[in-house]
């Protein structure tokens, strides 16, 4: 008779073999998978395997709709299938799936003809993450005004949903055009690159275009730098940085949730 320990060991081996075979289409059907007649359940296992892939590809297609639209459904699903095989879910929480999809897209040779594709995917991941991030109330105009007198000594706590996407392409415009209904309109793309600030101050996710130096500014602030140091970093990044305009943008977008004296 088998002891509980060996039975447990056997279960674990079965599960490991099963999980490996589900994701690897080349792998043999685990020998312990049999039908009622005792024959190998190869065809039914293939159905199961296909469902796992199709489900995960659907998740990615729903999470990266603009990316999918830019390359077409057939290309996207083929690319997503490769990604699922290379990078299966590590968490039981499906919300977390696809965090490194943009990196995969950027390194996926067949997609190299669409050089901005990975940035669009990054923007969509930021959108998705902001949607599911913790709620936080932005500081009101009055609260900001009250803290303004000692603003130069303070560090900022930025919104927990906030994410930056820096791009060498007009990524926000591309994303907007891709998601717009009624395609086939001649796209007027700006020549300039765009950096995006993504956050969800209340119930809806907002995507803002950052002014010159804005991304470096936000990055420095979220790194805990006080205002003068963050402003210097932004000016270093872009000589056209305008401190007042950038601060106003952050205030208006609800990006600032607290201001503190440095400890």
């Amino acid at each position: 008779m088998r002891t509980a320990a060996t039975r447990h060991q056997g279960d674990l081996e079965h599960q490991t073999a099963f999980a490996r075979a589900v994701l690897d289409a080349e792998a043999d059907v685990p020998v312990f998978l049999t039908g009622r007649t005792g024959r190998s359940a190869g065809r039914r296992f293939a159905v199961y395997r296909n469902n796992v892939y199709a489900g995960l590809i659907d998740v990615l297609a729903g999470r990266f709709p603009a990316t999918a639209k830019l390359v077409g459904e057939a290309f996207f699903r083929a690319m997503a299938r490769e990604y699922v095989a290379a990078s299966p879910p590590r968490s039981a929480v499906l919300l977390h799936y696809g965090a490194d999809f943009a990196d995969y897209v950027g390194a996926f040779p067949p997609a190299s003809a669409v050089p901005y594709l990975a940035d669009v995917a990054r923007l969509e991941w930021a959108w998705h993450s902001a949607y599911h991030a913790a709620d936080a109330a932005p500081l009101s105009q009055e609260a900001l005004a009250a803290l303004g007198a000692s603003a130069e000594a303070m560090t900022f706590a930025l919104h927990p949903s906030l994410a930056l996407v820096r791009s060498s392409y007009p990524v926000i415009t591309i994303w907007e055009l891709a998601l717009r209904d009624g395609e086939d309109e001649p796209a007027r793309l700006p020549a300039d690159r765009e950096d995006a600030l993504v956050l969800r101050p209340a119930l809806q996710v907002a995507v803002h275009r950052l002014p010159p130096g804005g991304a470096a500014f936000v990055q420095a602030l979220s790194g805990g730098n006080p205002l003068p140091a963050a402003a210097a970093a932004a000016l270093d990044d872009d000589a056209d940085f305008d401190l007042a305009a950038n601060l106003a943008g952050l205030m208006r977008s609800g990006a600032i949730v607290a201001m503190r004296e440095p400890a």
Binding site: E152, L203, A245
Partner: protein
């Protein structure tokens, strides 16, 4: 201390902050546009909100009109005063009416 042209004095930062407050106020409160709330039991079948994407999505998945556990974003304050057929009203929390039959 060496002077770096790329630094900001406390005075410059404080005045920029004050200017930013003025700019932010004059552009109108962006927050007002987002004064919305989740309203249950008011969406037509398949028109509920929740744009989180497939796999996790619930957008457009409600099965019947005015489904009590599906929500839509509406302007703040409008939810419970909305007029719906047969005396229904919207609710800020999920309600126990117009639910699709449970799958067995």
């Amino acid at each position: 201390m060496t002077t770096n042209p790329k630094t900001f004095s406390g005075v410059a930062v404080a005045s920029a902050f004050a200017a930013a407050l003025g700019l932010a106020a004059s552009a109108g409160p962006a927050a007002a546009e987002e004064e919305q709330e989740k309203c249950f039991g008011v969406a037509k079948a398949g028109e509920n909100d929740c744009a989180a994407g497939a796999g996790t999505t619930c957008a457009g998945t409600s099965k019947i009109d005015y489904q009590g556990n599906a929500w839509k974003l509406v302007p703040k304050g409008k939810c419970t005063t909305m007029e719906l057929p047969d005396g229904r009203t919207g609710s800020l929390e999920a309600v126990d009416r117009d639910l699709p039959p449970t799958q067995g």
